[in-house]
Amino acid sequence: MTATETPRIGVYVCHCGINIASRVNVKEVVEFARGLPHVVVASEYKYLCSDPGQELIRADMKEHNLNRIVVASCSPLMHESTFRRVTAEGGQNEFLFQMANIREHVSWVTEDEGEATSKSKALVAGAVRRVAFHEPLTREKVPVNPNVLVVGGGIAGIQAALTMADAGKKVYLVEREPTIGGHMAKFDKTFPTLDCSACILTPKMSMVKSHPNIEMMTLSEVAEVHGYVGNFKVKVKKNPRYIKEDLCVGCLECIESCVYKEAKFPDEYNLGLGKRKPVYIPFPQATPQVVLVDPETCLYLKKGKCKQTCLEACDRKAIDFEQKEEISELDVGAIILATGFKAFDPTNRLPQYGYGFYPEVYTSLEIERLLNSAGPTSGELTTKSGQVPQTVGIVHCVGSRDKKTNVWCSRVCCMYSLKLAHLIEERTGAHVYNFYIDMRTPGKGYEEFYERLLQEGMRPVRGRVAAITDWAMTPEEEGKLVIRVEDTMIGVVRRIPVDMAVLSVGLEPQPDAKEVRRRFNISCSPEGWFLERHPKLAPVSTFTDGVFLAGACQGPKDIPDSVAQAGAAAAEALALIDRGYVEMEPNTAWIEEELCSGCKSCSGQCPYNAIGFDDEKARAMINEALCKGCGTCVATCPSGAARQKLFLDKQIYEEIRGVLSYV
């Protein structure tokens, strides 16, 4: 059909069960719609997106020869694609369709039935008027680059990378630390099965390293992202390791022979609990199994003066102090973000717990390192003064469920606190208290694990710890940390002396989450958790097509959930790639040559340099392959020569008139 054909419009108003119908008088809206210009049919249905609902529309289209469809229901972000498909199946171009959002924008946000009904009518009027001016459009198909980028090499990123690589896709895995593994690599055991973390993770890590389809890039960060779904251009910045990765075999001879005889610098990987030399490896199973030189502490790199005994020790000649920062450019069709979380740092943020003030107050992450057989103490847990602790208090909800820090429940800390209680008791024989507000163990085998801990004699105290102090009231308390807490089950305040206090810190967004999300053009919550497109409909997608989420960067999550989500994100990316092309939304701009006055007002407006100028004709022109359809140039053009498909001026004017035509 052509645009000049007389419009024959069908209007369909959805009840959405009672979501719409309980607030909006649907009958009245349908009646109203019948009276609008060019409306041939108007009807209502309980669930328009269901099969019978769709069939109703298709059948009407045939019967009444409809050439325009309006659906008044939920948000177009929810079901526009569904109903466009229905319109196409009914025999018309899919863009001869318009949606009116009377659920998210009306029934759910309006108190009064009369007002909700009026507002619905206004929105329907807008849609009906607009759709009369719709024109058939075709989508352009753009081929999808089959390569994928995964950002973040924690368990989520590793899982996603392996899944896609096994499906035969080329995967770039970018990790900013010297080794992949993320938080999980720091743990000794994982709940609820107490499997050895390394036994699960290290094989996966080495699979990543050796997989022919994965290019692992450590000490690297994404600097820039350009392009769009199917065709992203990504710049990755790699920081120098001062080691040639392909030559180093991880023999560690260089470390042995560094001029520093003793390891004397705080070891970041072990949260400062251990020491390292300027040349070091984060932990024995690090992947890649390659050392690195820290420019901040290496004498040569810092001062330019050192005997460089490391160089001589390396018979592979792998050490290269000339390495510089490198930028590489990657072309990928899809991106998975798996940048994980940051553990809450209680320094100065919860002074009542004395972290950083009393040496025997630790964070859970520090205890994970101390319990880890590959950690700084080879798994031996002693206090800083070298004693085996006899009583240990584990404090839940540190930096979580608290309006002054973070309001959310971090979801994993109850379970890992139980895990730590078990491990501490097993290693040291200490009595372990768990101070909790609510014991949150919803998961397969989790409640059973809690029960096991109770049987093992873990001492539960239901109460949020008020303070950890070092002043003694009784002789038994002398020299110990005292945990002051109300045992809320009993209703009395208790003072419990311990040798060691463990703060079960919560999960927070990465501190650079906001920059990262900007770089990838996705949204995040005010706190910094990356925003999924829809928690149930599209939990691993984002509002930017082709960018997916996995793991704790989207919200607090344990390992099983992170892995599951990584699988889902990989599946979404694979679906995109295996389709082979993306259909672009036809909302690009073009120039109506005869109208263009050659004023060039538009050319500076385009952020994508899509607008060129034909000097001969003295006319602007738009490269539609580059245009992303923002419409900025269109709004700028004084002659009405620049126009945007799907958002033609006249369509918008009609919508404005429509929404204002009723009440």
């Binding site: 002074p351 009542q352 004395g354 003030f357 102090t469 070092d470 002043w471 009231m473």
Partner: protein
């Protein structure tokens, strides 16, 4: 800048040495300070326990007077912790509950031919000394360096919480920093803001006593020669009941320690005459310490 001064009832009597030393220190630092005319009692904790509205109105009269006298943006210095808190709380409540508190207070003040626009800033002398005048200035003015004196700075409960913003609620440092600037050594202890039982000492004295005992013992355990406070009620409570603690069976020396206002210590370091600092009015001799 000229500061306004709200003494509150206790600085005129029990806390006289606090008033004397405070004004002397302002004088020595060449900062102007002037008493609010015809101020009335802030209401302390007791008033809120009878009638919340009257409590706000009572305190607000002082704010209105200060605004009248000091103009807009008056800086009102309230040295007593209870006054500081109550005045601050009134300011916050007027803002946070515009209908229930703001409007009511306005109505009440009108009955007394007063208005309050809400511009007065309530300040504690600790805040003024450390943040307006500055530690460097104080350090420069020190005449007698108090080297070797170990001081347990006690802030009490009501200065740093819940409304004050000038210092941390758990481990405040302002007084410690001032003490450091005087050349003395603040001891590291964790009870700086734990309640001394002050507001209970008259009514349920036994329980209040055990609270002071905890504080005194801990200060001594940390090696303090003296406790310093920034509130007249805390000072009274910690100093004057030491005798009673002995009657209750505390060993001699176990809970004995001089307790001075931080302004007395400042005054000493700034070279002000002891007579002007109310040293003689202490139960335990302060002179010998310096």
């Amino acid at each position: 800048m000229k500061y306004l001064y709200y003494p509150g009832c206790s600085l005129k009597v029990t806390g006289k040495p606090y008033e004397d030393s405070l004004l002397a220190v302002f004088n020595a630092l060449e900062e102007e300070i002037e008493e609010v005319n015809d101020w009335n009692c802030c209401g302390a904790t007791a008033y809120s326990a009878v009638d919340q509205m009257k409590a706000f109105a009572l305190a607000a009269r002082n704010l209105a007077l200060a605004e009248e006298q000091g103009g807009e943006k008056a800086e009102l210095v309230a040295p007593c912790a209870a006054c500081y808190l109550v005045l601050n709380k009134t300011c916050h409540s007027i803002q946070d509950y515009p209908a229930r508190v703001g409007l009511q207070v306005k109505r009440a003040l009108k009955a007394g031919n007063l208005t309050y626009k809400g511009t007065v800033n309530i300040r504690h002398p600790l805040d003024v000394f450390a943040n307006d005048i500055g530690l460097e200035v104080i350090e420069k003015r020190v005449k007698n360096k108090l080297a070797g004196l170990k001081v347990a700075c006690y802030y009490g409960c009501q200065i740093v919480r819940p409304y004050a913003e000038f210092d941390d609620q758990h481990q405040p440092m302002t007084m410690d920093n001032i003490i450091k600037a005087l050349g003395a050594e603040p001891v590291n202890w964790s009870l700086k803001t734990r309640c001394c039982g002050g507001s209970l000492s008259a009514t349920v004295s036994d329980d209040a006593l055990s609270l002071s005992r905890i504080l005194i013992k801990e200060a001594k355990r940390r090696g303090a020669d003296i406790i310093t406070t920034a509130c007249s009620l805390c000072q009274f409570n910690l100093e004057c009941f030491q005798e009673k603690l002995k009657q209750k069976g505390d060993q001699p020396g176990e809970t004995e320690i001089p307790v001075a206002y931080f302004t007395q210590i400042m005054g000493k370091a700034l070279g002000i005459d002891e007579a002007k600092l109310g040293f003689k009015q202490s139960f335990m001799p302060l002179e010998t310490l310096f």
